[in-house]
C-alpha cells in the first residue's frame, strides 16, 4: 500500500465521525435557519430570510450588543489580570515557572459548573463576602451582588483567566531579555520599554487569550443563567430558549449562525494581528542580530 492511501485509511474513521456528527449537523442548522417556524412549533419547509431579519430586530440586536459588552468587559479584565500574572510568572526563577504555570491553569480543568457555583457561595446575600463584611463590623443590609451584571462578569473572568495566563506566558517567556536591556541602555524608561518593546512583541499571546475569552463568553449560557439569575440574557441563553422553551428552531438556528459569524470575524482579526506581530518580531530579531 502506498503511503498516502495508508494515511487516508488511518484518518478515515475519525474524519467520518467528525463529518457525520459535526459537519452534517452544523450544515443542518445552517439550512434550518432558512426555513419558517411551523404553526405548532416544528419546522415548515418554505424558504425565508425572516429569521436573519429577526436577528437584527432591535430587541434581539440589543441582546447581541449586551452580550458583546459583557463579553468585552470580561475579556478586558481577564487580559489585564492574566497578562500581569503571566509577566510575574515569566519573571520568576526558571525552575519555579513550570510549577507556577501548572497551578495557574489547574482550576481551568475542574468542573465549570462547580467553579461558577463557588461564586454563588461567595456572592450570595448570606454568602461569604457578606459574612466577612459583618465580621468587620458592617451592620447594614447585605449587599446584593449575586444576579447582577458584575456577578456574570466576575464569573466569566474567573473561569477563563487561566487560559489568558497560559496564552500570554508563551511569548513572554520567549522574549529576548537583551531587547529590553538595549532599550534601557538607550535611555528609555521602564514604562517606555514595556510599551514600545515588550508589549508589541507579546501581542500574539494577548490576542489569542482575548479571542478565547471573548468567544467563550459571548456564547456562554451557564454563567448568565446561574450568576445572572436569568435576568441577563446573552446570545447563548437566547439560543437555548429558542430550542428548549420557545420552540422556534429556525430562529434559534439563525442566532447560532450569527454567533458563529461573530466568532469567525474575531478569529480573522486575531490572525491579522498575529501576522503583523510576526512581522514586527522578525524585524526586532533582525535588529538585534545586526
Amino acid at each position: 500500500m502506498t503511503q498516502p492511501s495508508r494515511s487516508s485509511l488511518l484518518m478515515a474513521p475519525a474524519l467520518a465521525w467528525l463529518t457525520a456528527l459535526m459537519v452534517v449537523p452544523c450544515a443542518l442548522v445552517l439550512a434550518l435557519a432558512f426555513f419558517r417556524r411551523g404553526t405548532y412549533g416544528g419546522v415548515e419547509y418554505t424558504f425565508t430570510l425572516e429569521n436573519f431579519g429577526l436577528v437584527f430586530d432591535p430587541l434581539y440586536a440589543g441582546i447581541f450588543l449586551n452580550s458583546a459588552r459583557i463579553a468585552g468587559t470580561a475579556t478586558l479584565i481577564a487580559v489585564i489580570i492574566g497578562y500581569a500574572a503571566a509577566y510575574a510568572i515569566a519573571a520568576a526563577p526558571r525552575r519555579l515557572q513550570p510549577v507556577l504555570l501548572f497551578f495557574a491553569v489547574l482550576p481551568f480543568w475542574s468542573n465549570y459548573l462547580i467553579r461558577t457555583y463557588a461564586w454563588i457561595v461567595l456572592l450570595n446575600r448570606e454568602g461569604l463576602i457578606t459574612q466577612l463584611l459583618r465580621w468587620f463590623g458592617y451592620t447594614g443590609e447585605p449587599p446584593s451582588m449575586l444576579y447582577t451584571e458584575g456577578a456574570v462578569i466576575a464569573g466569566l473572568v474567573y473561569n477563563y483567566l487561566p487560559f489568558v495566563i497560559l496564552a500570554c506566558y508563551a511569548p513572554l517567556s520567549r522574549l529576548n531579555p537583551e531587547l529590553a536591556e538595549a532599550s534601557r541602555d538607550l535611555g528609555a524608561s521602564a514604562v517606555t520599554t514595556f510599551r514600545r518593546v515588550v508589549l508589541p512583541l507579546t501581542v500574539p499571546g494577548i490576542a489569542a487569550g482575548a479571542v478565547f475569552v471573548f468567544v467563550l463568553s459571548i456564547g456562554n449560557f451557564v454563567t448568565p443563567a446561574l450568576l445572572g439569575g436569568g435576568r441577563f440574557q446573552m446570545i447563548g441563553n437566547l439560543v437555548y430558549d429558542q430550542f428548549l422553551t420557545a420552540n422556534d428552531w429556525p430562529f434559534g438556528a439563525a442566532l447560532a449562525m450569527a454567533l458563529i459569524a461573530i466568532m469567525l470575524l474575531v478569529l480573522m482579526a486575531q490572525a491579522l494581528l498575529a501576522d503583523r506581530a510576526a512581522g514586527r518580531a522578525a524585524e526586532a530579531r533582525g535588529g538585534a542580530d545586526g
Binding site: L15, M22, A88, L106, Y112, P162
Partner: protein, 264 residues
C-alpha cells in the same frame, strides 16, 4: 530578566499572590464547606463527614455518577482510538490542506451551545431516540480532536525513517506499529486519554441537549446544574469536592505523562 530592583520583585510576587488567591479562594471555600457540620457558609460548626455520607445514600446522584462514568469511559476509549489513528495519518502525510486543519480544530473552538443544538436537531430529524448513547456519540467529537492534538505534538519530532527501516526489514505494518510507533507515542496517547476523560466528565451543555427526555440518562454535571438551579443543599459541596478531586487527579496524571514525553 536578571537585574530587578527588590521593589519590582516584591511587586511581582504580590501580583502572583493576589492572582493565586483569586483563583483558589473560591475553590478552597467550597472544599472547607463540604466538611462543615452545619453545611452553611454562615458559621463553622465543626468538622464532619456527614455530607459525604449523605451523598452515598442519594440514589439520584449515584445513578448520575454511574452514567457519567459510562459516558466518559466509552467516549474516551473511542476517541483515543480514532484520535490516535488520525494523528498518525496526518503526521505521516506531512502535507495537508488548510481545510483538514480547520476540520480538526473546529470541535475545540465551536461554541458548545452550537454543537449542542446542531446535534439535537440532527438526532431529532433522524428520529433517533436519545440517551447515553447519543451523549457518547457527541462527546467523541470534541474528545477525538483533543487526543489528536496531544498525539500530534508528540509525533512532530518522530523520526519516520525508523518506520521505513522496520518495513524494509520485513516487519508487517501491524508489527511496526506495535513495536516501533506505539512505544514512542504511548505516553502522549495516555495523556490524551486522561484529558478526554476529564473533558467528558465535566461536560454539561452538549450532554444536556443530547440526553433526551426523562431522568434515566442524567449525567453528573446535569444533576449538579439542577441542584444549583432548584435548591442548593449542602450535599453539593461534598459532590463538588469529589468531582474536582477526580478531574484534578486525571489532569495531573495527564501532565505527568506528557512531561515524560517532553523529557525523552
Amino acid at each position: 530578566m536578571a537585574e530587578r530592583s527588590s521593589a519590582t520583585r516584591r511587586t511581582l510576587w504580590l501580583v502572583l499572590s493576589l492572582v493565586f488567591a483569586f483563583l483558589y479562594i473560591p475553590i478552597a471555600v467550597l472544599v472547607a464547606l463540604s466538611f462543615n457540620e452545619g453545611g452553611l457558609p454562615t458559621a463553622w460548626s465543626g468538622f464532619s463527614l456527614k455530607w459525604y455520607a449523605s451523598l452515598a445514600g442519594n440514589s439520584a446522584i449515584l445513578s448520575a455518577a454511574l452514567n457519567t462514568l459510562i459516558v466518559a469511559l466509552v467516549s474516551t476509549a473511542i476517541a483515543t482510538l480514532l484520535g490516535t489513528l488520525l494523528a498518525i495519518g496526518i503526521e505521516m502525510r506531512r502535507q495537508y490542506g488548510k481545510g483538514l486543519e480547520a476540520l480538526i480544530f473546529a470541535p475545540m473552538i465551536i461554541p458548545d451551545i452550537v454543537l449542542a443544538i446542531a446535534l439535537l436537531s440532527f438526532f431529532s430529524m433522524l428520529d433517533v431516540t436519545m440517551g447515553l448513547h447519543t451523549i457518547i456519540l457527541a462527546h467523541v467529537v470534541f474528545n477525538l480532536a483533543f487526543v489528536c492534538s496531544v498525539v500530534r505534538a508528540r509525533l512532530k519530532s518522530f523520526d519516520w525513517s525508523i518506520v521505513e527501516a522496520s518495513a524494509d526489514l520485513g516487519a508487517p505494518a501491524i508489527t511496526t506499529f506495535r513495536r516501533v510507533t506505539l512505544p514512542v507515542i504511548l505516553p502522549a496517547v495516555i495523556a490524551g486519554a486522561l484529558l478526554a476523560f476529564t473533558l467528558s466528565v465535566d461536560e454539561f451543555i452538549i450532554a444536556f441537549f443530547t440526553a433526551g427526555a426523562g431522568r434515566a440518562s442524567t449525567t453528573l454535571p446535569m444533576q449538579i446544574y439542577a441542584m444549583i438551579r432548584f435548591g442548593i443543599t449542602p450535599e453539593i459541596n461534598a459532590l463538588a469536592t469529589i468531582v474536582m478531586a477526580v478531574s484534578i487527579t486525571a489532569l495531573t496524571l495527564s501532565q505527568r505523562f506528557n512531561r515524560g514525553v517532553i523529557g525523552q
